[in-house]
Symmetry: C2
Subunit: 244 residues, 2 copies
DNA sequence: TTAAAAAATTAACTTAGATTAATTTTTTAA
DNA sequence: TTAAAAAATTAATCTAAGTTAATTTTTTAA
């Protein structure tokens, strides 16, 4: 058994997301396959880009630890935040497998990413991975559709409530919450750019929530103080089934 | 060769989308596979639902002819239109392969849909289909992200211009335009619910476009009279690469 | 052919959120 | 430790789009 195989298995054995459909599938394979699709861990510092809009990318990434945000800058200088990527989630797949990326991926806090390169070969060796990928994409799609709906049809406070509970829910699925509180590395501009609102208005809405005792933010930690009240603003439909 | 095989091949041979990655893959297969995953054409009348939000669905559909709209009704009665499905596009895949659908699919004009049932078995027999599916989903995702960006950050006229050129572009890829004009079965409420605006405001915006000579609508056909002007409102970024 | 229903149009008025701009607080890095 | 930069806060003012409601036009179906 070649030495790099030990390295790979060690890397994955300590990974909390080794049960991910994608990873399970990769873990039982021969060494020749490993040659053609190396897996590496990549450490990112806070505010460091994994890739930038326009970069060429033909790798897939799974976030192992940390918090990544997908952002897009438009010609006129506005920034949109597509979504927050939480540990265990997969990014980097695009329709054009080898084309330029249409958004940037930036780490908000120190993060560790698992990089799976040479995916074109990988899919031909392991075609079952296609369905894993499709399942993960279908989850991302559902999430994006929920944001689309909220941004298109609901008020600032409703959008904000939706976003906070949606994040709390996704973090809970991974055990990354602390009851009703969780580490929250986004600043008010990040929230604004996710929800299509201005920083000023996000600030007003957060103030209103704090004054009514719905939540509290302290040292990058968010405390949901009145889940029921926030929930009635958010609507019931913010829960997503995890992928295969 | 069993008779239903002739039927299937006849069905697909006349289909303009038989080059779709998904279809190409299905077309060379043994008759036992056909037993386990039947393909049928389904005709829909205008305003008929293919499926309704909440229905159980475990089939995939490819639109062969017509125009389908994906809509979601929320608890509070508002309707959102996720997107228009154009011929050659695939719908029906969800993360929970056998779960209830989270939106409805309704035909706006008489349509023909190709129904591929029993997809769970199909993917185990033909795992390569997974990547076809992932590629199609990645396209849908890009489209949805473009709408998300436009709705979150841009004015009513900009959103409208984006939507019209985006549709024109997708139709052109399929040769379903007529130069700068195309069949346009959406009413003003459909546009409003796609863009997160009110009918009244869509009407105002359309009037403005017509008065400035940018476009014209006649008997469900839309004529782009000044592509350059609409394009400068829409932004340059409305083009999508088709899937594999 | 015609009555009823659906869709489009228009105007008057309201409002949620944007804009601008200044101030305070917190974080960062030298 | 401290100066500089970044982020949060607040207030005053503005405006794009929403709301309501009535009218006209088009489509549908009997």
């Amino acid at each position: 058994m070649p030495s790099h195989l030990f390295g790979l298995i060690g890397l994955c054995l300590t990974c909390p997301y080794k049960q991910h459909c994608f990873c399970k599938n990769l873990l039982n394979r021969s060494s020749t396959e490993i040659e053609s699709s190396p897996i590496k861990n990549v450490a990112l510092l806070a505010k460091q880009y994994l890739y930038r809009q326009g970069d060429m990318n033909e790798a897939l990434f799974i976030l192992r630890e940390g918090w990544i945000m997908l952002t897009r800058h438009s010609e006129d200088g506005k920034r949109h935040v597509f979504r927050s990527i939480l540990p265990g989630e997969l990014i980097g797949f695009q329709n054009q497998l080898r084309g330029p990326t249409t958004y940037s991926a930036i780490a908000l806090i120190n993060s560790i990413v698992c990089r799976i390169s040479n995916i074109v070969d990988l899919f031909s060796i392991r075609p079952e991975l296609g369905l894993c990928l499709a399942s993960a994409l279908a989850c991302d799609m559902k999430l994006t559709e929920m944001y689309l709906y909220n941004i298109a049809h609901r008020s600032a406070q409703e959008r904000l409530a939706f976003m906070l509970l949606e994040l709390h829910h996704r973090l809970s699925l991974r055990g990354l919450n602390n009851g009703y509180s969780f580490k929250f590395p986004l600043n008010q501009e990040d929230i604004a750019d996710t929800l299509g609102l201005t920083v000023v208005h996000i600030n007003r809405s957060l103030q209103a929530f704090k004054e009514e005792g719905l939540l509290q933010i302290n040292k990058r930690e968010l405390f949901i103080l009145n889940y029921t009240a926030i929930s009635s603003l958010a609507g019931t439909d913010f829960k997503i089934f995890p992928p295969l």
